[in-house]
C-alpha cells in the first residue's frame, strides 16, 4: 500500500514538472513570436526610411550635424594640443635656460666662496689663477697689483709666462693702465697677438673706487674660441671679489707685520 502511494506521489511530481516545462515552452514560443513581429516592424521602418526621401534627408541632416560637431571638437582638441605643445616647448626652453643659469650661479658661488676662503695673499692669487684657467679658459694671463707709493702696476702672479717677462705699467699707460684708471673692463679680439701691450681682455680690480690692480688675459686655451656670457659675469665677479680678497689679504699681512713689530717692542720693554 505504501509503495503504491510512493508511485502515485512521484507520478504527481513528474506531472507538475511536465506542466511547468510545457508552460515555459509556451512562454518561449510567445516571446519568439513577439520578437519576430518587432523585427518585421523594424525592417519595415528601415525599408520605409530607405524609400522615403524625407526620412533620408532627416537622417542625413542629423549625421551632418553630428559630423560638424565632431569636426569642431577635433579642431578644438588639435588647437589645445598645439597650445600644450607650444607650452611644452616653452617650458623645455625655460628649463634649459634655468639649468644654464643654475650652472653659472654655481660657478660664481664657488669662485666667490674660494676667493674669500683665505687671507693669505699667495693663496688668493692662486685661487684667482685657478678661476681664470679653469672657468674662463685663459692660457696666458697676468695679475697686476698697483704699488701704493709709485702707483705703478706690477705683475704678482702669472700663467703661461714667467712673472719677470711682464714689465711694470704706469697708471693710464696702455690697455692695462687705462682699464685700471677708468675702472672699465676691456674686451677685445680674442684671437690676440700675444703682444704684452695689448691683452685680449683686461679686468680692472677695484674696491669701491680704489684701484687695486688688474687681470690681463693675453690668450685663450686652444679649445676656447671666444668669451661667453658666463665669462663676462666672471669678469664682473673678479673685478669686485678678487679685488676685495687681495685688499683684505694685503691689509691682513700689514696688520700681522705691525702686530709682530709691536709684540717685539713689548717683549723688548718687558725683558
Amino acid at each position: 500500500m505504501s509503495d503504491e502511494k510512493k508511485v502515485f506521489g512521484r507520478a504527481e511530481e513528474f506531472l507538475t514538472l511536465f506542466n511547468q516545462g510545457a508552460e515555459f515552452t509556451k512562454e518561449l514560443l510567445h516571446e519568439n513570436e513577439r520578437l519576430r513581429h518587432e523585427l518585421l516592424s523594424v525592417q519595415d521602418d528601415h525599408r520605409q526610411a530607405a524609400t522615403d526621401p524625407g526620412e533620408w534627408g532627416k537622417l542625413r541632416h542629423e549625421l551632418l550635424a553630428q559630423i560638424d560637431q565632431l569636426t569642431l571638437e577635433k579642431d578644438n582638441a588639435l588647437e589645445r594640443l598645439r597650445t600644450v605643445e607650444a607650452e611644452n616647448r616653452q617650458f623645455a626652453g625655460r628649463y634649459v635656460e634655468i639649468e644654464e643659469e643654475n650652472n653659472n650661479l654655481a660657478n660664481l658661488y664657488v669662485s666667490s666662496y674660494q676667493l674669500h676662503s683665505t687671507l693669505a695673499l699667495s693663496e688668493v692669487l692662486k685661487i684667482i689663477i685657478e678661476i681664470v684657467i679653469n672657468l674662463i679658459g685663459a692660457e696666458i694671463f697676468a695679475v697686476y697689483v698697483q704699488d701704493e707709493r709709485s702707483g705703478e702696476l706690477e705683475v704678482v702672479a702669472s700663467e703661461g709666462m714667467e712673472v719677470e717677462t711682464f714689465l711694470k705699467i704706469a697708471p693710464g699707460a696702455g690697455v692695462v693702465g687705462r682699464a685700471v684708471v677708468s675702472g672699465e673692463t676691456f674686451c677685445g679680439d680674442t684671437h690676440g697677438t700675444q703682444d704684452w701691450e695689448s691683452p685680449i681682455a683686461c679686468i680692472p680690480l677695484r674696491v669701491q673706487d680704489r684701484p687695486i690692480g688688474a687681470i690681463a688675459i693675453y690668450s685663450l686655451l686652444e679649445q676656447k674660441d671666444s668669451f661667453t656670457p658666463l665669462d663676462h659675469e666672471l669678469f664682473t665677479l673678479l673685478a669686485g671679489h678678487a679685488a676685495t680678497a687681495i685688499f683684505a689679504a694685503q691689509l691682513y699681512s700689514q696688520s700681522e707685520r705691525k702686530l709682530n713689530t709691536i709684540q717685539g717692542f713689548i717683549d723688548l720693554l718687558t725683558k
Binding site: 639649468e99 650652472n103 664657488v110 669662485s111 684657467i133 679653469n134 672657468l135 686655451l221 686652444e222 676656447k224
Partner: protein
C-alpha cells in the same frame, strides 16, 4: 638600486667643489674627492668606485700615470675613467684615450657636459 660611487681626482679645491656641485644632481651617487694622483690611487685601490674623473696636471702623481696604473690593475680594468683637463691638443687626447681613459673633457667645462658624460659612463658600466 645600489648607490654609485664617483671619485674626483683633482688638485684644485675649486674644481673639486664645482664638480661635486654638478654631480650631486645625479640621483643615488656618493662622491669622494682626492687631491692628487697618489691620493687618488690610494682611494681607488682601497674602495670600489663606479666612475673616476681625473685631472691630468697634478702634483705628486699626474693623471696619465694614475690612469696607466689603474688600467694595469685587474680589478680596475673595467672602471670607467673620464679625463678633465686644460690640455686641448689632439695628441694629449689620443695619449689619454690610448692609456685607457673612456672620455676626455677639456676645461672650461660645462656642468651639463659633465653630467651627461657621467650618466652615460655609469650606465655603460
Amino acid at each position: 638600486m645600489a648607490r654609485k660611487r664617483i671619485l674626483i681626482v683633482e688638485d684644485s679645491p675649486m674644481m673639486r667643489q664645482l664638480l661635486t656641485f654638478a654631480l650631486k644632481r645625479l640621483k643615488g651617487v656618493d662622491i669622494v674627492e682626492a687631491q692628487d694622483g697618489m691620493d687618488g690611487l690610494r682611494k681607488v685601490t682601497s674602495d670600489h668606485f663606479d666612475l673616476a674623473l681625473i685631472d691630468i696636471n697634478m702634483p705628486v702623481m699626474d693623471g696619465l700615470k694614475l690612469i696607466s696604473l689603474i688600467r694595469g690593475e685587474d680589478s680596475l680594468k673595467e672602471m670607467p675613467v673620464c679625463v678633465i683637463t686644460t690640455e686641448g691638443a689632439k695628441e694629449d687626447r689620443i695619449r689619454a684615450l690610448s692609456l685607457g681613459a673612456n672620455e676626455y673633457l677639456t676645461k672650461p667645462i660645462q656642468a651639463n657636459q659633465v653630467l651627461a658624460v657621467a650618466k652615460a659612463l655609469l650606465k655603460a658600466e
